[in-house]
């Protein structure tokens, strides 16, 4: 099939990560074949430059880090007791105000809010090594963004980002999620992005990042052995979001009684304690003492006694529920094609999901083979993360961590840090707001200042738009008064922002 420049660019924007210099020529033929080959080969990047191979390494390391912090805090408080004396020693991560006398150590368990960038400190000691959770987060973010610079097509990475937002956690929750969010994506999402939805679902709900994020580790069956003893009880947060967000969808036909039933069935899905006597500290553990006994009724189906396997069975049933197929099909089409997704395409994808028992590779093929996906105009707005990656690829840059975190924070799209478990928004209205667009221009200007010196505007147009550039965009870039302006306009052009 001969190449159509407009179709190639649409494919790279809609399903991929955007062209790098030379990519348009490299593709030559049909962009759909590039994407199909990626899916057929189940090509998914592995992330480089990260400290922890798995949660089995990261969780004990976080336990040790927290222990050390706690001890240092106690030492500092003890030292501050006898005299109203000097500021705490150099390692001070404590606010200066807390050095006054007998202030107790800040109680900061799971609920604490870690602020990513606090204001400039009044004193200026040498910048300390960022603590473990922050350092791990930065490594994971850098690894993820750099992985997105590699593929020619990039549909797999787009799908990883889609599922990561579907199963959203936020590092604002505290040190645990900050340390584990990248691992959640690497361990529970990437391995299944061309596999089965049910496996991804189970992997996510058992992952310490999700368990911490939705407070599942403390949820006790009211009639369990531990529940009766401690007088604490159920937390239905994770169960509710599993049904509302992860599987059935909010209109998927469940009730408050179903939420409570599922919450009962996953009581005991918790984490191994720090002492190491019940498995690697901080990794998933089923604690039968916390599990609610007795039969449960979920969506009209009876589940007998059964411990851990019962919760797994409930998740498997939710994964193959028709409402789940509909929910996923609609969300996927909405993400890739249009805010108001074509009904025919949603129906087709839902059917593929049902017929294949949630085979995500089959779903990706159905997505690529949908005629609607190639005829709908480019009305979606690139998300800030997609925009940042596309601009790095377009300019052949490999951004440093500061060039990633700052701009994404400014544009309201920091990685693994949405406002809530429903993830970031996915609509034009959300991303093309007046303030959002203004901030996007600020980011484009900053990128242009950093990278314009060696760039030939004419070559840039050919590299990132080719023959598909509109004459207005071409003119606006070529008539810019400086290289800096030309680059900024190219990044802000409708052809670059839309997909």
């Amino acid at each position: 099939m001969s190449s159509d420049p407009g179709l190639t660019l649409l494919g790279l924007h809609r399903f991929g990560l955007g062209p790098r210099p030379g990519d348009l020529a490299r593709i030559g033929g049909d962009i759909r074949e590039v994407m199909r080959a990626e899916i057929a080969g189940k090509q998914v990047a592995s992330i480089a430059g990260v400290s922890f191979a798995s949660i089995r390494e990261a969780a004990p390391a976080l336990r040790d880090f927290s222990e050390t912090e706690r001890m240092q805090r106690e030492v500092r408080v003890a030292a501050a007791q006898p005299m109203q004396g000097p500021a705490p020693p150099a390692a001070a991560t404590l606010a200066p105000a807390a050095a006054q006398g007998t202030v107790p150590p800040p109680a900061a368990p799971s609920g604490a809010i870690a602020s990513p960038q606090t204001g400039p400190a009044p004193a200026r000691p040498p910048p300390p090594e960022p603590p473990l959770p922050q350092r791990t987060y930065r490594e994971e973010v850098l690894g993820r963004v750099h992985a997105m610079l590699e593929p020619l097509g990039g549909l797999s990475e787009r799908l990883v980002a889609f599922w990561s937002n579907h199963f959203a956690v936020s590092v604002n929750k505290g040190n645990q999620v900050r340390t584990f969010a990248g691992l959640l994506e690497r361990e529970a999402i990437r391995p299944h992005v061309h596999g089965r939805f049910a496996d991804m679902l189970l992997g996510v709900e058992m992952h310490p990042a999700m368990i911490f994020f939705l407070d599942q580790q403390q949820s006790l069956g009211p009639n369990s052995r531990a529940g009766a003893r401690r007088g604490r009880g159920l937390n239905e947060n994770l169960a509710r979001e599993i049904m509302e967000l992860h599987t059935l969808g909010v209109a998927g036909g469940y009730t408050q009684a179903d939420v409570t039933a599922l919450a009962h069935m996953i009581t005991g899905w918790t984490l191994a304690p720090p002492n190491g006597q019940e498995g690697i500290p901080g990794t998933f553990r089923f604690n039968a003492n916390m599990h609610e006994p007795g039969e449960q009724l979920l969506l009209g189906k009876r589940y007998g006694e059964g411990g851990f396997e019962r919760g797994k069975a409930a998740l498997a049933d939710l994964a193959r529920h028709p409402s789940t197929a509909q929910h996923i099909a609609r969300k996927l089409t909405r993400h890739f094609v249009a805010d108001e997704p074509p009904a025919s395409m949603v129906a087709r994808l839902a059917k593929v999901f049902r017929d294949t028992d949630g085979d995500l590779q089959a779903l990706s093929f159905a997505l690529l083979d949908s005629p609607e996906a190639w005829s709908a105009p480019a009305t979606k707005m690139r998300s800030p993360q997609e925009f940042l990656v596309a601009s790095a690829r377009a300019l052949g840059r490999k951004p440093e961590i500061g060039q990633i975190l700052g701009p994404l924070n400014a544009m309201g799209h920091p990685i693994w840090q949405p406002g809530g478990p429903n993830g970031f928004p996915d609509s034009v209205a959300a991303w093309a707001s007046p303030e959002g667009l203004k901030t996007r221009l600020d980011v484009s200007a900053a990128i242009a200042r950093q990278s314009a010196s060696g760039i030939d505007p004419k070559g840039l147009v050919e590299d990132i738009f080719g023959p598909a550039a509109s004459s207005e965009t071409r003119q606006a870039i070529l008539r810019a008064e400086t290289r800096y302006q030309a680059v900024a306009i190219a990044l802000m052009a409708p052809e670059f922002q839309r997909r």
């Binding site: 368990p109 799971s110 609920g111 604490a112 809010i113 602020s115 606090t118 204001g119 604002n172 939705l214 407070d215 403390q218 949820s219 006790l220 009211p222 529940g227 604490r232 009880g233 159920l234 937390n235 947060n237 509710r240 509302e244 909010v250 408050q256 939420v259 400014a410 544009m411 309201g412 406002g419 809530g420 429903n422 928004p425 209205a429 959300a430 991303w431 093309a432 707001s433 007046p434 303030e435 959002g436 667009l437 203004k438 901030t439 221009l441 600020d442 980011v443 200007a445 509109s470 207005e472 965009t473 606006a476 810019a480 008064e481 302006q485 306009i489 802000m492 052009a493 409708p494 922002q497």
Partner: protein, 417 residues
């Protein structure tokens, strides 16, 4: 340009036949020409109205604890707010108290510039945050209709020529809250994180968007319009510190919004959101996690009072959340999603110093589904009352355009001075 919005000055030109031709897309716009007769004269007041949304469902029973309710203490073991001693609750009317982290609100209440509405809820009776927020902000009867928000539609029913609709609604944040989104113009602001791009670049892009992309052109033009005030007020050099879930971030957001809303050539209505209220675990009582958030909100209210200066007397700041939380503490010393909760009205235009509540009581059989504070007042009736008194919008217009389907829900009277 799509061409149906260039009649700002031309209500007369909108003959009925023309309106029929333009069809549904411009129906809302056409409405803005009608009100000449649909409004009581708003008088000399040039009001300001700010909506603060607390995302995550604020625990109303901790923010405004009913300490005289005999069932309160029993339900709230570990998180109850004490009546006496250190960090004691601040007295309001003898039955209701205010959380000790909110001294500014208590002061404004005493000065009759703050009002508490208790056991309120929207019409939404499920327990999804996101649907709950959508209903709260869209002003629609149910979830799933997120095309525009009720504050935006308010602007569309106000007389087109007046400053309030001309200046648009201010939506704080890179992603503005749904409540301000819609067809009426919106302007945006967020505490900036990066240096701003130059004017020449802005003009070149406006030109390009004008030729190629009307949607981006419109958003961009609206963004540029508020730049003038930002520069004049010296806000351009400020940088963000902390987000909308932290006390300093809340204060900065409120201070910035107040400056923009205070300006004569700025927007008259604004909406912003504070986050982090979903206290499922370790909620805390007089101190702790929720207390920190309430302290942030309290500081933000003080920043509004300071920043709005002479306009404070004409201001209503309305603080609302999508729903409340369970009456009983849960298994993780927090609370789960509930229903009834509190709303605050703060400002010089508020007929304050009152707690308005038809208190349902916390006895088990009086709770909704035996778990939530039962709502006895509809938040939409409250909001309609404020909009009637502050802007002179008539009840039928509100029930048709701003909160569709609420004709049976009478506006609560007498909330505004």
């Amino acid at each position: 340009m799509s061409g149906h919005h260039d009649h700002d000055d031309g209500c007369e030109a909108m003959t009925p036949s023309r309106r029929a031709v333009l069809g549904a897309a411009s129906a809302l716009f056409a409405w803005s020409c009608v009100p000449k007769m649909a409004y009581a004269a708003p008088g000399a007041r040039d009001p300001r109205f700010v909506v603060v949304i607390l995302r995550g469902a604020m625990d109303g029973l901790s923010a405004v604890p009913p300490l005289a309710d005999p069932h309160y203490l029993g339900l709230r073991e570990g998180i109850a707010i004490p009546k006496d001693g250190e960090n004691a609750a601040l007295p309001l009317d003898g039955f209701f108290y205010l959380h000790p982290a909110m001294p500014n609100l208590a002061r404004l209440y005493k000065a009759q510039q703050a009002m508490v509405l208790h056991a309120v809820a929207t019409g939404y009776r499920q327990r999804s945050h996101f649907d709950g927020q959508d209903v709260l902000e869209s002003g629609q009867m149910g979830p799933g209709q997120t095309r525009d928000g009720w504050l935006n539609r308010l602007l569309e029913v106000l007389p087109a020529g007046e400053a309030i609709s001309r200046k648009g609604a201010l939506g704080i944040g890179v992603v503005p809250p749904l409540v301000v989104r819609g067809q009426a113009p919106i302007v945006g602001w967020a505490p900036p994180v990066l240096p701003r791009a130059g004017d020449d670049l802005v003009m070149r892009l406006m030109d390009l968007y004008g030729q190629r992309d009307p949607v981006l052109a419109k958003a961009f033009a609206q963004g540029a319009s508020i730049e003038k005030i930002i520069n004049r007020e010296g806000m351009a050099g400020q940088r963000a510190r902390g987000g909308p879930d932290n006390a300093e971030g809340m204060r900065l957001i409120a201070a910035g919004a107040a400056k923009l809303v205070n300006a004569d050539d700025g927007p008259r209505v604004a909406a912003l959101a504070f986050e982090g209220w979903d206290t499922h675990a370790n909620e805390g009582g007089a101190t702790g996690r929720l207390a920190g958030l309430l302290r942030g909100l309290d500081g933000a209210l003080a920043a509004f009072e300071t920043g709005l200066k002479d306009r404070w007397k004409d201001t209503v700041v309305m603080v609302v959340t999508e729903f409340g939380r369970t009456a009983r503490v849960n298994g993780t010393v927090g609370t789960d999603h509930g229903t009834g909760t509190v709303a605050f009205m703060v400002g010089g235009a508020v007929r304050g110093g009152r707690v308005i509540a038809d208190w349902p009581g916390l006895k088990l059989e009086n709770l909704l589904d035996q778990r939530d504070l039962k709502p006895t007042m509809d938040l939409r009736a409250v909001t309609k009352g404020v909009l009637t008194d502050l802007f002179g919008v008539s009840g039928p217009v509100l029930a048709e355009k701003v909160f569709p389907g609420t004709a049976g829900l009478a506006p609560v009277k007498g909330l505004v001075v």
